[in-house]
Symmetry: D2
Subunit: 304 residues, 4 copies
């Protein structure tokens, strides 16, 4: 396929959308980003790379980081992990707290904030610095040793993160946070503040399109069963309250963040990362959603 032509065509076609989304502005560092940014990267399991637009400009990956911590936690805890977090879509955002209460502190899945906080708690190990562990993991997956946290973003997240503090305390009250609430929140706010670009993200998710093994380095990140399961979880709950919409329009497992990034996987073939900071009503990149839909339309490919 001529992926380069396709993404260039997409780049043109989404241009009119760039002014329509709303850039996340709950912290200054995010609000400063221009809504006109758009980048896209495609990397195949054969090693071919295609990029367009701002694919090499760093942004805050936010919730996309939940896939990294999930992979780490699945490796550390195995099936024990599922005693502390579920695997089902959460219904609508409104439900997050009531469901947590109804289900006695067991979050519905690892990608809603409550579940991600439990996952973060899981990767904290005695005698280890969780922030270093996570950075090692992300640098390994992406092959880019310069990736780092944006400390300004991490600090701002903490300053305004009362809702996440509420969730963490609530989970603690059910015994589903084992470490100190403040420590878990500190790691969580940093993971959301990881600064990466489309190239990095497409590359770091490539093991999920390749049965758990990074095709470039040959390194096994997880076994093929785990890779499939992470993809299944992304399919089920990776796009906030638009998982069904994303499945219907795009038809690939994926994960989004309020920084405007979305990563998607075509198992066995390739990964895509797209970035455009203008968000739709559900908190997903407006142009990013459209770009991915156009990609699967033009390539006539999806998992369905």
């Amino acid at each position: 396929m001529e992926y380069q032509k396709i993404i260039e065509r997409i780049n043109k076609e989404v241009a009119p959308l760039l002014s329509h989304g709303r850039v996340a502005s709950y912290i200054p560092a995010l609000g400063r980003v221009s809504p006109r940014k758009f980048g896209m990267a495609v990397i195949t399991t054969q090693g071919d790379i295609f990029t367009v637009g701002d694919a090499r400009e760093n942004f805050s990956i936010q919730s996309i980081s939940k896939v990294f911590t999930l992979a780490m936690a699945m490796d550390l805890l195995g099936d024990e992990l599922w005693k502390r977090v579920g695997r089902e879509a959460s219904g609508n955002p409104f439900n997050s707290l009531v469901q947590l209460e109804y289900e006695n502190g067991l979050p519905r899945n690892p990608f809603i904030n409550a579940g991600a906080l439990v996952i973060t708690d899981c990767i904290i190990r005695n005698g280890h610095c969780a922030l270093d562990d996570l950075l090692d993991f992300v640098r390994n997956c992406s092959g880019n040793s310069t990736i780092n946290y944006d400390n300004e973003v991490a600090f701002s997240e903490k300053e305004t993160g009362h809702r996440n503090a509420a969730l963490a305390n609530f989970l603690k009250s059910y015994g589903n946070i084992h470490h100190q609430v403040d420590e878990v929140l500190d790691v969580y706010f940093h993971q959301c503040a990881l600064s990466m670009n489309c190239m990095d993200l497409a590359r770091s998710f490539l093991f999920l399109a390749n049965g758990g093994k990074d095709p470039e380095s040959g390194r096994t990140i997880c076994d093929s069963r785990q890779a499939k399961r992470i993809n299944a979880l992304m399919q089920t709950c990776g796009l906030y309250d638009e998982c069904g919409e994303f499945a219907y329009r795009v038809g690939l497992p994926g994960k989004s963040g309020v920084g405007g990034g979305i990563v998607a996987i075509m198992p066995g073939e390739l990964t895509l990362a797209v970035w455009s900071p203008g968000l739709n009503h559900a908190g997903n990149s407006l142009a990013g959603m459209m770009a991915l839909e156009l990609f699967t339309t033009y390539t006539a490919r999806s998992i369905f």
Copy 2:
């Protein structure tokens, strides 16, 4: 692949599970079925057929019928349909009514009962008998002109269907049921009472594995875009509150019914139908779930 060997192995391996599920007993006709029944059918888009056990014994397809009515409604209404029903997973069963209230009578998706009632309302046309229309559709898809409603089941559903009557009246109060409540319920209780076997089901879903076209008759049931979308909807919301579990363990789009049937799709390749009436806590066939998980494990295939 040696599908016949695989399903025979599965047939043996799930045997110990047959006594563990609970057969649906809210109506006598369902409660009479032996929990020891197990059947499985695999049909490829090439026309190869593999069956094991009770694959040719009829059972009540129940909620699996919602895929047929959805396909009919998508054809009749096009994108207008999505003004009356959403496409997102519903969270847990507890939420069905509150979500309906919270979202002003717009059901979360076409497969929860509220959504299916709206879909049923959509296939009722002036001057047409909806029950005949549905039967024609199912007979065409399956190539089996003897398929019919089990009137005893339909009657019993009505006698005990107070909760569905509640939902239909509730939807009517929001203006999201256009016909008389009693008429919609009558069609709905009959569609649930369609009597089919694994062979019929695998065959009648084959168009969804083949871009919308029935490979045997050559007939186009829907276009390829619609087929993908129906698969995406099954993936997102086809297994009650176990969609995530099913994605995680099986990794295929599918649809289940409380009669103990489950149909799954491997796009481009085949359909599977499995039947075992013993249900798990979530109302899905206990042995059926396991059989499908073993199938994707032994064939090392899934959409992920």
Copy 3:
């Protein structure tokens, strides 16, 4: 006290409010009523009667009827009644259905619609016409043998009562409606269509201000313990989602209806009935609420 002067002053003071409320219009017969109507009646346990404005004009008492059926059901079932309905405020209207589901079909109290439907089910007796029984009870309490149902209203209620039909079916699915759903709804829609005026209402509630005995006829309607309890239930849940507001501003037990009527009790002393069809956001008479607040302010009386 000079009650006549006080209610005449109130009559003048609420006049500017009469154009601000919204008359219930979900059925034509209610929507036709002029929003400028205002009537008020005070009857003391000594037999003194004070009226002002449209106190002798009939209107649809709607939910006020729930007090009559509750008194009947408490007499028929005694404490058994409380196995089928609770005694707590319901929180906000949004919760009605979710609470019913959460609490397995046990309505929170006898005055929310779900609870009132259960109460109506309770007053239906074999070999009796519930509509006649209710009419006898109301005529006895009020001493007015001409009181009757407004059949046009009752019919219209049925035509548009899908939400109540939903509730009744839902309760039936939990086994908390014992008679046929249609029969219960028929009685319910009629009780709401009782046509009475302020004089009738103040008079028919007088037993609740007088320890269960009608001071005029000397007839015992219920024992003093029951009278206190009915007052307590009105205090707790008589004004939809404004019970707290009503307690705070008025400080008396009371019951309202969407026809614009409100009855209140000053135990040991008097009853008040007020009518003005313009409703506030919570479905209570706008001018009626103000009139009662002014009454307790000017008389410096309340139960607190």
Copy 4:
């Protein structure tokens, strides 16, 4: 009335219940209290005092403190207060968080924990020590200058108060906590840890039975309108999820705490305070509820 005889009779009659309740044990200091404790104090607006049992033994007043802070906040903010907190019963405990979310951070009333945290935030003033202000207020109302916080209890509350920390952070995320979350929680945990006895409590609530003026000192604590309103709020939401039950059985405004205390008001006449640490399923004193019910039965008095 012979109140002394009545409370002595009650003291005997509730004895069998003392072993049935469950003492709150979420913190050690509460769990250590003997379930066999029972005390009761009645103080009339004439100055007569009647006590029985452990009426002079201190205990942790817990949520009863919410009445003190409410009275202070009403004085400080006037009607502005009701922009930050509602006046309606909250439905069941399950709803607390969902309602907060549904109603955008506006707690239903000042006595649920969320509302009480807002009230606590309201009494914190620049240049003042809120803990001193509160202590002054309570010592004034009770005429007992030795009343103090139990610091062990306050410390333990903080150690285990993750749920309250969750609520406070959640409220902060809606902007309905103005001070630092930690500061508000510190005051809140201390107010719950006020150590008082039945005598103190009956005495400190006497202004609410006397139109806002303490009959003994002659001091005006609030105006008579405010006193009535505080009583109305207690009636509506003072007994957790048993407000209706309490109104039905006891028929007086009251406020309970998980330390086993309950205070009730008979307006114009007297206050009652009862203490017994064994709690019922709703978190109210089991013997205390019964004692108050017997009191209104034997005296044939209630507000209804």
